[in-house]
Symmetry: C2
Subunit: 278 residues, 2 copies
C-alpha cells in the first residue's frame, strides 16, 4: 500500500536527499468511512514547509488522486501518510537548482490503542531525550525525526501511551507524536512552537474548539513546575484527536470538565472537516 | 558507483527508517592513491553512533571489502561515503526490536575547490540558519542534516567556501561541513561539541597535531565577539584537511604561523594514517 511517484512497483533511489540528509517533509492524515480528515489543513502545512525548505510544492490534486487510489482498495479507518523529499544525485548539502520532488503516499492500519485510553485517560512519562532548539526548523513537519525515535526507545511498557519532551532550556515542547496542553484555573496553556516542535494540525483544531467554548488559550513557555501544578493535561494529534492524561510519571491529574468538553468539541469538528473521496 | 547492501542493482525501500525518520548515520572518507585515510577513526565514530542510536554495528570487514570493490574500479583521489540506517516496515517512531541495518557504500569525485583555497585561504560567511541545540544528538554524524541543507542554500556565490553556524544561544558551533578553530595569542580555541555539532575526525587530528607542536587547545563556548577578535581562523574536515580563513563576512584574518604549521602537520599525519586497499 505504497506509491512512489504514483507507481506501486518502484523503489527509492538511495541518492534521494530525503534519505541522505533528511531533506523532506511529511503529513499523517486520518481516514474514516466518509473520507480524509483536514485534507486542506494538512496540505496547507505541507505547502508552508515546502516554502521554508525551498521545495517545489506538490500538485494537490495529484496527491489527492493517489491517496484515493490507496483508500479505494482498503478498509477504514486508516492512516494516510504523505512524504515528499528533494531527489538528488550528487554529494554535498547544497540542493541542486533544478530539483525533482519525490512523492511517497502510503496507507497504514490504525495503531491499536486500547479503547479505554480515549475514555479513561492515558499514562504518560517524561523523556530524557530532549527536543532540539532550532527556530529554523521549528513548526514544520520535516523528516529529521531522530530525536523522536530516541525518545520513543526510552520505554517499552505498553501501558505508557506517550512521552513528553523538554528542550535544553527546560521548556516543555511536545510529546513524541503529540502536542500538549495544560489546563489551569479553567484556562488552556500550550507551548510556543517558535523554537522547537511541530505545529500540529490537531493543535490548531483544539485551539479553535477552545475559542468556540469560550476557553482562554495562552501560548508561551511552560516549565516542569507548571506541568506538575496543572489541573488537567491534554495531548493532541491527527489520529488520536484528544487524549486526556491521567498521570505524568508520579504526578496524577483529574479528567476534568475542560478536557472532556474539548474532547467532545474536537470530535464534532473532525466530523465536519472530512473531504469525501468521490 | 553505489552499493546497497552490497548489490549494485537494487534500490532502497521507501519504508527504510533512514528515509522516513532520519534514523541512521554516515561517514565521509578521503581516498588517495595509497588507500583510505583514517579508516579506523571513521569506523570508531560510526560504531559510537550505533551505540547511541541502538543500531546493530555494521561488520567492518564487510564494509571495507565493499569500499574496496568501488575503489578498485575508479580513479583516486575520491570521496567514499558510508551510510547505515535502520530498515523498517511499520509506521511509528519506535524502532522494531529486531531491526535490519541498511548499508550504503558509494564513491564520489572530489568537489572541485580552487587550488588557491588550500594555499591562500578561504572566504567564509556567517549563516542565519542556526545549529540545533540537542545534547542527545550532538557529536554523532547522524543523517538529520536539514539545518546544514538550509544553511548551505543561503549563498550561491562560488567564491564563498563555507558558512559558519551559531546556535540559538549565540555560541559558534561549526561550519556547514567543517569544524572550526580560532587562534588567539598563540593558542587554539574550538567549540565544545556537547550540545550541538559533529565531532569531526579531522577535528581530532588537528587537536593531535597541536599537541605535537606544543600548542595549547581550549575546548569551550565561543561567541561572535571572540570570533571577530581572533588572530586566525581554521576549518577542518576529512576531505579538505585544514583550510585557513582569510575573511568571515567583513572581518579579515591573517594567514598566520600557527595555522600554517598545523596545516603542514595535519598533512603529515594524513599520509601516515592511510589504510592500504590490498
Amino acid at each position: 500500500m505504497i506509491l512512489v511517484n504514483g507507481q506501486t512497483d518502484i523503489q527509492l533511489s538511495p541518492t534521494d536527499r530525503g534519505f541522505q540528509y533528511g531533506d523532506g517533509l511529511f503529513e499523517t492524515l486520518y481516514v474514516n468511512q466518509a473520507g480524509i480528515e483536514f485534507w486542506h489543513e494538512h496540505l496547507q502545512r505541507l505547502s508552508e514547509g515546502c516554502q521554508r525548505l525551498g521545495l517545489k510544492p506538490p500538485n494537490e490534486s495529484l496527491l489527492f488522486n493517489e491517496s484515493r487510489r490507496l483508500i479505494d482498495n482498503s478498509t477504514t479507518p486508516a492512516v494516510l501518510k504523505i512524504l515528499i523529499s528533494r531527489s538528488g544525485a550528487g554529494r554535498g548539502y547544497r540542493p541542486p537548482v533544478d530539483h525533482q520532488v519525490t512523492r511517497i503516499v502510503s496507507l497504514h492500519p490504525l495503531a491499536l490503542y486500547p479503547d479505554h485510553w480515549q475514555t479513561e485517560g492515558v499514562r504518560v512519562r517524561i523523556c530524557s531525550t530532549l527536543a532540539s532548539i532550532n527556530p529554523s526548523l521549528a513548526g514544520i513537519k520535516h523528516i529529521n525525526r531522530l530525536e523522536q525515535v530516541l525518545a520513543r526507545t526510552e520505554w517499552g511498557d505498553e501501558r505508557i501511551a506517550e512521552g513528553l519532551m523538554f528542550d535544553a532550556l527546560g521548556r516543555l515542547i511536545e510529546g513524541t507524536m503529540t502536542n500538549v496542553f495544560l489546563v489551569k484555573g479553567g484556562e488552556l496553556y500550550t507551548p510556543n512552537i517558535a523554537h522547537a516542535g511541530v505545529l500540529g494540525v490537531m493543535r490548531r483544531v483544539l485551539i479553535d474548539a477552545a475559542a468556540r467554548l469560550d476557553i482562554a488559550v495562552h501560548v508561551g513557555d511552560i516549565d516542569q513546575e507548571q506541568l506538575a501544578q496543572a489541573d488537567e493535561v491534554l495531548l493532541t494529534n491527527s489520529i488520536i484527536g484528544v487524549w486526556l492524561v491521567k498521570s505524568v510519571d508520579e504526578f496524577s491529574y483529574s479528567l476534568g470538565q475542560i478536557g472532556q468538553q474539548l474532547q467532545l468539541e474536537v470530535g464534532r469538528i473532525r466530523q465536519k472537516q472530512t473531504l469525501a473521496l468521490s
